[in-house]
């Protein structure tokens, strides 16, 4: 089976999942006890405004029709209107999509930069003291709540040392990079322990493989074997690990964005929840889920580029 067929097959597979996800987004909002519009307006709406809002939101229709409206419009890119902000949800979301994606990418990059050397060291000297230290560090890092860690980093780098900005996004490109550092680092430190553990195990597994012994028997030196054979094989799961943990990446991003007042999708979600802005919440959850699916698809694709065996099955 060739590459195009595989991609097509995967996208087709995604469809039922997308339907399921949209159902959940939809139902979650429409199962709100009480009248969502009332809640959105904190009970201050007049009957006429209520009726108008209901009509605008399509809330006067039977549930299945509402669902159909929702997904048919969503497929076109229309995610509804936010009553609170009186603007199209897709516009609101669109403005904040890029910063969040950049934050996620930066976090992933930082996480890999931190995790890779540490996992190589831990694997090469497995069961020796340095390995235990690294793994203990990993355990501590995993147990640290990202919001707390963010506060500590803020206190330290932002306030005591005053090296880095602690809120917002900045204006110019260089300035933005600076603003990215602390939030991305916070998420990365939360993600790194998981990466270290998986990479270490992957490297150890690969080092036990027969072809590594064969490579040694050919007379190749340990560094070449490590880099060209072991690492390349061991790194394959990295994209998968990152993709699988994207849920946690996003979750971490939500909290961190809130903490650092970073203008992304995460802080938008928190604000929308506080304001009971249900159309935004609904649209956002759909966007998040689709983001996860796309990331997983991309990671599977990258896997194929490296390991041709996948195309066989």
């Amino acid at each position: 089976m060739n590459l195009l067929n595989y991609i097509a097959g995967r996208i087709l597979q995604m469809f039922p999942v997308v339907i399921g996800v949209s159902l959940i987004s939809f139902l979650a909002i429409h199962l709100v006890p009480g009248d969502p519009v009332q809640l959105m307006m904190h009970g201050r709406a007049t009957p006429e405004t209520l009726q108008a809002a209901h009509a605008k939101l399509g809330l006067d229709q039977p549930l299945p029709i509402q669902y159909w409206n929702f997904i048919s419009k969503a497929a076109m890119g229309n995610l509804g209107i936010s009553i609170i902000q009186n603007a199209a949800v897709s516009k609101i979301v669109g403005e904040r999509l890029l910063p969040t994606i950049i934050l996620l990418v930066a976090s992933a990059v930082f996480a890999v930069i931190i995790a890779l050397p540490l996992s190589v060291i831990a694997a090469k000297w497995a069961d020796r003291p340095i390995d235990h230290i690294i793994r203990l560090g990993g355990v501590l890092g995993f147990a640290m709540p990202p919001f707390w860690l963010g506060i500590i980093l803020m206190l330290f780098f932002g306030i005591f040392l005053d090296w880095l900005p602690i809120s917002g996004y900045g204006r110019s490109f260089g300035d933005r990079l600076q603003h990215l550092i602390l939030p991305a680092l916070t998420i990365a430190l939360f993600l790194a322990p998981i990466l270290i553990q998986s990479l270490r195990a992957a490297i150890l597994d690969v080092m036990m493989a027969d072809y590594i012994e064969v490579a040694r028997a050919k007379g190749l030196g340990p560094w070449r074997i490590l880099v060209k054979h072991a690492l390349r094989n061991a790194l394959m799961p990295v994209t998968t690990i990152l993709a699988v943990n994207i849920g946690w990446l996003l979750g971490g991003a939500v909290v961190v964005e809130y903490l650092f007042s970073f203008p992304g999708l995460g802080s938008l979600l928190i604000r929308a929840v506080g304001q009971r802005d249900y159309p935004v919440i609904q649209g956002l959850s759909l966007v998040f889920a689709i983001l996860v699916l796309i990331v997983n698809l991309l990671s599977d694709l990258s896997y194929i580029l490296i390991d041709k065996r996948v195309l066989q099955s």
Binding site: L155, G247, G251
Partner: protein, 290 residues
């Protein structure tokens, strides 16, 4: 060992016997956890203050012998609140982990054993829930139902089982083709007996190891949600909420936010160590059984 005993792979029986042979991480982690549990149980004895007792003349005091963790902006003793926080976070983590574990494993194992449309259906459901980032899902549900710890419980009970179902399903796929299962079928045992008495004890290993991480993540979840204002209601002494409350006073009174975080890290570390020890222990056991 009779095949009956072998097939049961009884985790408790094998583990309990040789305490001194437990891995180091398991011992250290358990010790810390026991200490934390005891501290939470005996909180009223350990501290003269109450968790809600305000003392407005003594707000924002730095750590001192009288207040080892200092006081917060309401004059409440932070150490006391941290200790009482154990009573909130630990049981939450426990129930939100082990209750979904039970029905998650059962559902995953059953669906996988039956195969066919049952299994496909489960796979679809799992795919969908995996796609939804967990925290987002919880936030959405909380947004729908309103804040409060009961709603968080409900949200987790609705969704957390999927990970265990996934793990149990994966293990069952391997297990159901093993000889002892086929032998049991030939002996005429009903599927219920086969699944529950023979197969399930052997498919729980990865779930048990994962449950430790899940425990930590659930506690972090509660703290995170409380931090965001979507969790417990004030003035409940929950660690995440305390961290949030301390945010406004970061410059003058760093201890309000920092020290509850240490409690979280300590608890999380203990649980992770236990998980690591369990993984080692169970890893050894699996080979021994085969």
């Amino acid at each position: 060992m009779s095949s009956e005993e072998a097939s049961q792979g009884n985790l408790v029986r094998h583990m309990g016997g040789e305490l001194y042979r437990w891995p180091m991480t398991l011992k250290i982690g358990s010790a810390i956890l026991v200490a934390i549990v005891l501290a939470g149980l005996f909180a009223p004895v350990l501290t003269p203050y109450g968790p809600f007792t305000q003392d407005l003349s003594n707000t924002l005091l730095a750590p001192s012998p009288a207040h080892p963790f200092g006081t917060d902006n309401f004059g409440r003793d932070v150490l006391t609140r941290v200790l009482y926080g154990i009573r909130i976070n630990l049981p939450f983590g426990f129930f939100t982990t082990y209750v979904p574990l039970v029905y998650g494993i059962i559902l995953g194992a059953l669906a996988s054993y039956w195969g066919g449309w049952c299994d496909s259906l489960l796979m679809r459901v799992l795919d969908v829930t995996i796609a939804f980032p967990f925290l987002i899902l919880i936030i959405v549900i909380v947004a729908t139902l309103g804040p409060g710890i009961q709603n968080i419980y409900l949200a987790i009970f609705l969704t957390a089982w999927t990970m265990y179902a996934r793990l149990a399903r994966a293990e069952m796929l391997v297990e159901r083709n093993k000889d002892y299962i086929l032998a049991a079928r030939n002996l005429g045992y009903g599927p219920g007996r086969i699944v529950f008495r023979h197969a399930i004890p052997n498919v729980v290993n990865s779930s048990i190891v994962f449950s430790m991480s899940d425990f930590v993540l659930n506690i972090l979840l509660l703290s995170g949600l409380s931090f965001l204002g979507l969790g417990v209601a004030p003035p409940t002494p929950e660690w995440g909420a305390m961290i949030a409350e301390g945010r406004d006073f970061m410059l003058e009174a760093w201890w309000i936010s920092t020290l509850p975080g240490l409690a979280l890290v300590g608890t999380g570390t203990a649980l992770c160590l236990i998980g690591d020890g369990l993984a080692q222990r169970l890893g050894e056991r699996r080979y021994a059984l085969i």
